[in-house]
């Protein structure tokens, strides 16, 4: 498979910061001893990702944007006091959190309770290492990048468990139990959904996936809409976003595993929740939405702008669901993972494998990809519809309005026809 050439090869091309950064790294590699450059790259990558991504995106767009958007959805203004349009609100919050006393309850496991926020933060930064922000703008272009992402994203669950267990609080323990149970369940459909993508593109490297999508001028979301839906639901369950935020369900178990945290220890959890959501969005944008490529637009617009835009598109959907949907119960969530998502993901996998085999074995034209896309979109809708009907989903039987009677009296029996399904 011939992959297309990169945007430009010139280091001075300002549209693509990656050339410059790569130039510096490769130059340094020639001068310095071999090992140092890894450390240097890590440092530069950390600082760059912090400056480019974490600071503006997370603090300003993440915290401010989320609060502002949710505010508008809830018919209120959101932050509008600190700085112009309230833009400095996240910074003010951070200063407030740092000044606050970080309480540790009596009887808590102090060491574990201190370690948990730190362990929670580290993977959020590590996740961005494999996200390609441009043709060469990638910190670690490793081959099993997709597996790396899955592996690292399973670490915060441990941190959340440590936080919940160490606090010596029953609500926290509830949260810890819930998050552990849920992450095990949702890892399965998540991996199965991504497996379909790997099957089709034939690689586990994120950069190559982007190049594949660029080469064929089709995004994987069109080829595998079902995989995106499953990925989105599963990842929002792992990230504890509503409708699946049962591990910190505020109306049930106060704040779940965060109940006893305060001050900056809580702030780290809160900030990195947004960090994980952004990482998951960036990953989804890379795998499903073509990453930094955009049907040729990436020749004119800096690719890192494109992927950040796509990331925030996904992040907006996270915010949207948070502002709209109620929360599911834990048994319903589990049932949804095992009874609905797992079979549908398997179905998707079988379909994708068949198409892949047809495409490769029969040496079909590239235009067949578009046929596959149409087929898969319909198959996705059909699979969701059919499987939910099979599981007993009958929306037409739901009562919509209360019955009306004009005379007071005793019990009014429910007519047989009006008895709901499920």
């Amino acid at each position: 498979m011939a992959l297309p050439t990169l945007v430009t090869e010139h280091w001075y091309d300002l549209r693509d910061l990656s050339n410059l950064s790569r130039e510096i790294l490769e130059g340094a590699d020639k001068i310095l001893p071999h090992g140092i450059v890894y450390v240097l790259a890590a440092l530069i990558g950390f600082v760059a990702s912090f400056l480019i991504f974490v600071l503006p995106s997370q603090l300003i767009v993440g915290v401010y944007g989320e609060r502002k958007l949710i505010g508008r959805m809830q018919s209120r203004y959101g932050p509008n006091r600190v700085g112009p349009f309230g833009l400095l609100q996240p910074i003010a919050d951070a200063i407030k959190l740092m000044q606050k006393e970080a309480l540790t309850p009596k009887g808590a496991d102090r060491a574990v309770m201190y370690l948990a926020p730190i362990i929670f933060v580290a993977p959020a930064v590590l996740l961005f290492a494999v996200i390609p922000f441009g043709p060469k703008m990638i910190l670690a272009d490793i081959n099993p990048a997709l597996l790396y992402f899955l592996a690292v994203s399973s670490l915060p669950v441990l941190a959340a468990f440590m936080a919940g267990w160490s606090a010596n609080n029953k609500y926290s323990l509830f949260g810890a139990m819930r998050i552990v149970a849920m992450s095990i369940s949702y890892e399965v459909p998540l991996v199965l959904a991504l497996l379909g993508v790997v099957l089709f593109t034939g690689t586990t490297s994120l950069q190559e996936m982007v190049l594949w999508q660029k080469h064929f001028d089709i995004w994987i979301v069109f080829l595998q809409p079902l995989a995106l839906a499953i990925y989105f639901i599963a990842v929002s369950a792992e990230l504890n976003r509503t409708p699946t935020d049962i591990a910190e369900a505020e109306s049930e178990i106060v704040a779940g595993y965060l109940t006893e945290y305060s001050g900056m220890k809580w702030g780290l959890f809160y900030g990195m929740d947004i960090g994980y959501a952004l990482a998951a969005s960036a990953f989804a944008a890379t795998v499903f939405l073509g990453g930094w490529s955009m049907f040729g637009l990436d020749k004119w617009v800096p690719p890192w702008m494109i992927i950040i835009g796509k990331t925030h598109l996904f992040y907006f959907v996270f915010i949207w669901t948070r502002g709209t949907l109620p929360r599911l119960r834990i048994d319903q969530l589990m049932a949804f993972a095992w009874k609905f998502m797992l079979p549908v993901a398997l179905l998707n996998l079988v379909l994708v494998a068949t198409e892949r085999m047809l495409w490769v074995e029969q040496e079909l034209d590239d235009s067949y990809l578009y046929i596959f896309a149409v087929v898969n979109i319909w198959a996705a809708l059909g699979a969701i519809w059919a499987w939910s009907r099979f599981l007993g989903y009958r929306p037409e039987r739901n009562p919509v309005r209360a019955r009306l009677v004009n005379e007071a009296g005793g019990y009014v029996p429910v007519p047989e026809a009006a008895k709901g399904g499920k």
């Binding site: 007071a408 009296g409 005793g410």
Partner: protein, 175 residues
Amino acid sequence: MPTREWTGEEVAAAAERLVPGSVARTTAGACYLKAEKLVEAIEALRSSPDTDFVHLTNLCGVDYWDHFEVVYHLQSFVRNQICCLKIEVWDREKAVAPSVVPVFHGAWMQECEAYDLLGIRFEGHPNLHRIFLWEGYPGWPLRKDFLSMPGGLQPGLNEFAGTARRPEPATRLVQ
């Protein structure tokens, strides 16, 4: 059509018919039942189709200095009627009334409330406890003689009688 309020005589007639010897006396608006026949009579009034008092609307106690009355308002949805039953409890020191929780589950909390505030002990209640105040609260606040009761609350900003009082601040005479 407004709810028909049964007069005392009507209720008394129905109760006497269903459970003979249960009525003590009647007034214009209420029927006084004998305490020992109360549960039986209420059960009969609830299950008999022509009375059909299925809903215990209200239960409360009243202190009349020398005795307590427990007031029950029962109503029927289908027949759209309401009646008022009462019993009298004469022993102030050991005020005991029969509990109607076996008949009406809704009496559970209302009897707890009457016990908490008036000190009427309902015999047969599964879990009679002080529902608003804490166990060991001195006296029964809704009794008319609460303020003069031994161990009752004294007017003013004092502590509860019986509990340890704050020592008076030592005042030093200015010479």
